[in-house]
């Protein structure tokens, strides 16, 4: 059954929350236009009868090599922590995780 769907402003707000991306309201019309243009490009695909088709999966010629489950030498904690935008000693520093009720709107 063909079901053409349209992304509206309400769904865009939900998607922005799920994707953890901010978007200024003035950019909403342009983004909605582009998203819906892509969805229209994809509508025809629903014409195909796929009722007896299994979703795609890869086959293998020879099972991939597996690593031994043993410790290996690695670059070390400091090299990772050097990349941290905000750091407190040996820790990544992050803002408060448990938000106040007044701050959690839209979550």
């Amino acid at each position: 059954m063909i079901k053409k769907m349209v992304m509206d402003e309400e769904r865009l707000r939900e998607v922005l929350t799920l994707a953890r991306i901010g978007l200024p309201e003035e950019e909403f019309p342009e983004v909605l236009g582009r998203v819906n243009a892509v969805l229209r490009m994809c509508d025809e695909m629903q014409e195909l009868d796929c009722s007896n088709v299994r979703p795609f999966e890869w086959d293998v010629k020879k099972a991939p090599a597996r690593r031994e489950d043993v410790p290996v030498k690695w670059a070390g904690r400091d090299r990772f922590l050097e990349q941290a935008p905000v750091r407190d000693g040996d820790f990544f520093k992050v803002p408060r995780i448990i938000a106040l009720e007044s701050e959690s709107e839209g979550e």
Binding site: K3, M5, M7, R11, L12, E14, V15, L16, L18, A19, R20, I21, G22, L23, V31, R34, V35, A37, V38, L39, M41, C42, D43, E44, M45, Q46, L48, C50, V53, R54, P55, F56, W58, V60, K61, K62, A63, P64, A65, R66, R67, A75, R79, F80, E82, Q83, A84, P85, V86, F92, V94, P95, R96, I97, A99, E103, S104, E107
Partner: protein, 492 residues
Amino acid sequence: MDFYKLSAREIADGVRNGRFKSEEVVSVLLERIKKYDKKYNAVVTLCEETAHKQAQAVDAAVSRGEDPGPLAGVPYLTKDNFCTDGIRTTCGSKMLKDWIPCYDATPVRNMRNAGAVLIGKTNMDEFAMGSTTESSVFGPTLNPRDDSRVPGGSSGGSAAAVAAGYCPIALGSDTGGSIRQPSAFCGVQGMKPSYGQVSRYGIVAYVSSLDQVGPITRNIDDMSLAMDVLAKADSNDSTCDAYDRPSFSGAVAAASLKGKKIAVLSGFDKESMDKPLVDAIDRTVEICRAAGAEVAEAELPITMKHAVACYYMVALGDASSKLACYDGMRYGHHEDGKNLSEMYKKSRQNGFGDEVRRRILIGTCILTRGYYENYYVPATQVRQLIADEYAALFKNADALICPISPALPYKKGLVEEDPVRIYLGDAFTSTANLAGLPGISLNVGFTPEGLPTNVQILGPRFGDADILAVAAAIEKKAGSPAIAELDAEGGC
């Protein structure tokens, strides 16, 4: 000596035989990049210090009587989504502009173990999302064949670099055509190997079920040399098949079209294509026939009608979850927020460019209830139908000849005017990624205006050596492309 004109095989042979040193070749190519790339912007990071050290190590090994490997002293560039230990890896994004990995991607390690010398990292569409190399945080790359046009993408920097004579081999990644289309736009040879042929460990993922790594070169012999080095099982990539690979160079050395069954794609709208690209297919078919191949037309009705839609649904759904790891906390672009959620949103809003944000939003949307059942799930089923259609075709054919892109290289700026048209440009290439097939972008000539005309050669999954042989046999007749004539003046 004009070292920049040499093929990878010529450089490796010269270095191994002691006729010249890797250090000399590397110095010449680094100078060439510094002279011309202010204009073309194909290279975003030059690895001068490490390149000289690597080249000196290769030369020292030769002087000790050791064999540094099949790519001894050959300078190469890699797309900037391959992790390089101690060298920044940006994916063309503000999000990773200062990120320095602490390990090498497996293809980079394999190239080094074979004696190749990494001289720099190339420009790309941000996170490999695009086909024009205009969305990079470093600005656009220009096409060395015509600087008013884009080099294609997303591996546009790698293809432009090979066309410009910066190196004989550059590495790219191909999720929906990102090696083959820029190779076509820049008039060089590019290969997307079969899914599972080359390890992707250390490649920053766009879509794990579609991404594949491959070489861009100026001739098929160099491509086979690179494939011998790159195509290896890897216990760090569970999608990399462990089968015993054939010798790709061996297949190319024995190349012949006699008795080969070659299918030619029909049933698509040739009227909407640029005519020189239709003519290029006809010319290639004639070469095959004249060399003793059996040529027959073949259609792929489901594939040609639904591949682009299927590709974008699969790709964007997967990409939205892949790119969830950029949180502005452990590495990458960071912006302060009054709580964790605001920090995520601001870091991702300002760290990603417009096209990446759009693709994440579409991908997130199609994984939500309603859209998932109506778009994403059907796409995974249509993908199976496409794979089945190709499998049926390759029961009766050794290779398929078809276009790469319906258009000659785009003029700059088209992506902003008509993004859906750009998406539809993936129709002939994305199918190989959906079905996991190997594909080669082969240059068979140029228009009178100097624009390249490439054709695509596809084969059954793991038929990489066979299509390399077909490409080599066609190249013998069509010739391999020359280095572009560069002009140091002007720029982006």
